[in-house]
C-alpha cells in the first residue's frame, strides 16, 4: 500500500460550459490496476476522463502521472490512450493504417510499425482484416480496431469511455472478458467508464461510484456490491427496498411503519435486494400486486403497510397469484446497512 499512486488526481475541479461538473476530486490509481468509474449519466465520469486525457483543461487541481505533473501538458504528449464510445475510427483509412497511425506519427521505423500493428491486430483477433475500411466492419469489429489502435502505441494509461455500450448483449459479454484478458496480459493501467453496474463488477479491480461530480464510494467490486455505504450506491447495486429505521421498526417512504422483532444497531437506513426478501413465511403480511416471470426467477411486487416492496424468488419455487396474501420476512442478514443518503 506504500507504493505511490501511478495516476493521482488531486482536488481536481472541472467545469463544462460554465458549470462545475466535478468538484475537488481526489483519486489515486496504482500501476496495472483496472479502475471502473461508475455512475449515472451526468455524474462527471466522462468529463473526468477527458481531463485525464488532456481534452479538457481543469479549472483547478492537479493531475500526476508517474509522479510527473501533467495538468498543463498537451494531450498529444501525454501518452494516454482513449477508446471512444463511438470508436472514432478514421473513416478514410484501412484497419492497418488506423492501427499504424500513432506509430507513424511517432516516426517508428517501417518494419517495426508492421510488426507492432500485426501484434495489436492479432491481440484483438482481427488478423486478415487489415486491408478493410472501417465501414466494411461490424460494430464489434470496429470496437476491436479502436482497441488495437490504442494499445499499439503502448500508452502509459488507457481510458475507455463506455466502449461496449453500442454492442449487442452477447458481444458485450464476449468483449468484456477479452478486455479483462488483454489488460492482464499487457499489465495495462486502465480507467473504464460505464453506467452499467454488472460491467463494472465484472471488470474492475476497484469500482469508484460517482455522483454529481464527487466520489460516493470506492472499493473492490465485492465490497461495493455487498456493503454499499449510501442509499445512492445501494440503489445502484440493486437494493431496491429501502427503509429508515427507528426504535420500533422500519419506516417506509409513505411514513408508515413495519414493526420488527429485532433492530439493527447503529444503522439509520436498511435496504434489501429483491432476492433478499423471503417470501412464503415470516412475521409480515402483504398482498401480491404484480408478478413478472424473468426466466430464472419471478419478480413480485407486494403491497405492505410500509409501501410496496419488490421480491424475487426462484422460478421453480412456489408461485403466488396476483391478489393473494403472502407472508414475508426481511431478514437482517441479507440487508445492507446504510449510514448516509
Amino acid at each position: 500500500m506504500s507504493e505511490p499512486d501511478f495516476l493521482a488526481l488531486k482536488r481536481l475541479t472541472l467545469a463544462y460550459g460554465g458549470q462545475t461538473v466535478v468538484e475537488a476530486l481526489d483519486l489515486g490509481i496504482r500501476k496495472g490496476e483496472l479502475v471502473v468509474l461508475l455512475g449515472p449519466s451526468g455524474c462527471g465520469k466522462t468529463t473526468t476522463m477527458r481531463a485525464i486525457a488532456g481534452l479538457l483543461t481543469p479549472r483547478d487541481g492537479r493531475i500526476l502521472l508517474g509522479g510527473r505533473d501533467i495538468t498543463r501538458l498537451a494531450a498529444n504528449k501525454r501518452e494516454v490512450g482513449l477508446v471512444f464510445q463511438s470508436y472514432a475510427l478514421f473513416p478514410h483509412m484501412t484497419v492497418f493504417d488506423n492501427v499504424a497511425f500513432g506509430l507513424r506519427v511517432k516516426q517508428v521505423a517501417k518494419d517495426e510499425v508492421a510488426r507492432r500493428v500485426a501484434a495489436a491486430v492479432a491481440s484483438v483477433g482481427l488478423d486478415g482484416f487489415e486491408g478493410r475500411l472501417p465501414k466494411a466492419l461490424s460494430g464489434g469489429q470496429q470496437q476491436r480496431v479502436a482497441l488495437a489502435r490504442s494499445i499499439a502505441v503502448e500508452p502509459r494509461l488507457l481510458l475507455l469511455d463506455e466502449p461496449l455500450s453500442n454492442l449487442d448483449a452477447r458481444l458485450r459479454l464476449e468483449m468484456r472478458s477479452e478486455l479483462r484478458r488483454l489488460q492482464r496480459e499487457l499489465d495495462m493501467t486502465m480507467i473504464y467508464v460505464t453506467h452499467d453496474q454488472a460491467e463494472a463488477l465484472a471488470l474492475a479491480d476497484r469500482v469508484v461510484v460517482m455522483r454529481a461530480g464527487r466520489i460516493e464510494q470506492s472499493g473492490p467490486p465485492q465490497e461495493i456490491y455487498e456493503r454499499p455505504r449510501s442509499v445512492f450506491v445501494a440503489r445502484f447495486m440493486g437494493f431496491e427496498n429501502i427503509f429508515r429505521l427507528d426504535g420500533r421498526g422500519l419506516i417506509g417512504e409513505n411514513g408508515a411503519s413495519l414493526p420488527m422483532a429485532e433492530i439493527a444497531a447503529g444503522a439509520k437506513v436498511v435496504a434489501w435486494r429483491p432476492q433478499g426478501v423471503r417470501l412464503g413465511g415470516g412475521p409480515h403480511k402483504g398482498t401480491v400486486i404484480g408478478a413478472s416471470y424473468l426466466g430464472q426467477t419471478v419478480e413480485y411486487l407486494i403491497a405492505t403497510p410500509a409501501g410496496p416492496i419488490k421480491a424475487e424468488t426462484g422460478a421453480s419455487s412456489a408461485r403466488f397469484a396476483n391478489g393473494s396474501e403472502v407472508a414475508f420476512d426481511l431478514p437482517f442478514e441479507t440487508a445492507a446497512r446504510l449510514y448516509a443518503e
Binding site: 498529444n76 472514432a88 478514421f90
Partner: protein
C-alpha cells in the same frame, strides 16, 4: 385542380428553361443578325465564336481568374470554416455572418466599392483587382460549403488522432482534410462556375485589354448584333451543365449547396 397544377408546372419549366432553349436555337441561326425564330439552321456562328480574337483572350482570363480566385478563396475559406466550426470564438456567430455576407450583397455594390476604395486609391493593376474582387466574392461559398462538410465530420476522430500523438496541424492535414475532400471539390466547382459567370463585379473591375468573357460578350453586343453571342452563351451554358452534372455524379454536389 389537377389540370391547373400541371399547367403551373409547365409554365414554370417554360420560364426556367425557355431562355436557354431560345438562346441555343438562336445560336444555330443561319442569318446575319440575332433573331428568333431564326431564318434557318447552321453551325456558322458556332464556328465564328472560335475565330474572334478577343473571345479567346477573355476566355483564357476568365478561366485563369476562375481557377485562381477559387483556389485563393478556398485557402482562406477552409481555415475560416474550420475555425468557426471547431472553436468557440467570442462573436463567432457575427463573424460567420460577416464572412458569408457577400452572398446577399449585390455584386454591383461590391464591384463599385472595390473600384472606388481599393483599386483607384492604391493604383492596383486591373488583373489583381479582378482577382481580389472575385476572391472576396467566392470566400462565402467556400466557407459555407466547407462548413457543411465539416458539420458531418465527427470531432472525436480528431481527438483520437491527437491522443495518438498527432499535433493539431498534423491532425488537420491527415484526418480532417481527406474527409472533407468531397466538400472542397464541390466548393471549387461552385466557386469556379460563380466566378466564370460573374458580371456585376467584373463590370467595374475590367478595363482596356483586361476583360472577362461575360463582359467581353456585353461589349461585343454593343457593336455587333450577330448570333455569335447567342452561340457562345449556349456553349458556356452547356459547359456549366456538364461540369455541374459531373460534380453531382462524383461528389454529390447537391449535398453541399
Amino acid at each position: 385542380m389537377r389540370k391547373l397544377s400541371h399547367a403551373v408546372i409547365v409554365l414554370v419549366l417554360l420560364f426556367l428553361l425557355g431562355p436557354f432553349v431560345i438562346i441555343c436555337i438562336a445560336g444555330l441561326s443561319s442569318g446575319e443578325t440575332l433573331a428568333f425564330p431564326p431564318p434557318g439552321i447552321s453551325w456558322r456562328w458556332v464556328e465564328a465564336v472560335f475565330a474572334v480574337e478577343s473571345f479567346r483572350a477573355s476566355f483564357t482570363l476568365s478561366l485563369l481568374l476562375g481557377v485562381g480566385a477559387t483556389l485563393a478563396a478556398l485557402i482562406l475559406g477552409i481555415p475560416a470554416a474550420y475555425g468557426l466550426d471547431r472553436y468557440r470564438v467570442p462573436g463567432g456567430g457575427i463573424l460567420r455572418n460577416v464572412v458569408t455576407a457577400p452572398i446577399v450583397v449585390p455584386g454591383i455594390i461590391v464591384g463599385l466599392a472595390l473600384l472606388r476604395h481599393l483599386l483607384v486609391p492604391l493604383r492596383l493593376p486591373l488583373t489583381l483587382g479582378l482577382f481580389l474582387g472575385h476572391t472576396a466574392l467566392l470566400i462565402p461559398y467556400a466557407v459555407r460549403v466547407v462548413s457543411a462538410s465539416l458539420a458531418n465530420l465527427r470531432v472525436d476522430i480528431e481527438e483520437a488522432a491527437i491522443l495518438l500523438g498527432a499535433s493539431r496541424a498534423r491532425t488537420f492535414f491527415l484526418i480532417v482534410l481527406p474527409n472533407i475532400r468531397a466538400g472542397i471539390v464541390a466548393a471549387f466547382i461552385l466557386g469556379f462556375v460563380t466566378s466564370f459567370n460573374q458580371v456585376s463585379v467584373s463590370l467595374f473591375l475590367s478595363g482596356p485589354g483586361v476583360t472577362t468573357l461575360p463582359i467581353d460578350m456585353l461589349f461585343y453586343m454593343d457593336f455587333n448584333y450577330d448570333p455569335s453571342v447567342a452561340a457562345l452563351s449556349a456553349l458556356l451554358a452547356i459547359l456549366s451543365i456538364i461540369v455541374v452534372l459531373a460534380a453531382e455524379r462524383f461528389v454529390g454536389l447537391s449535398r453541399y449547396v
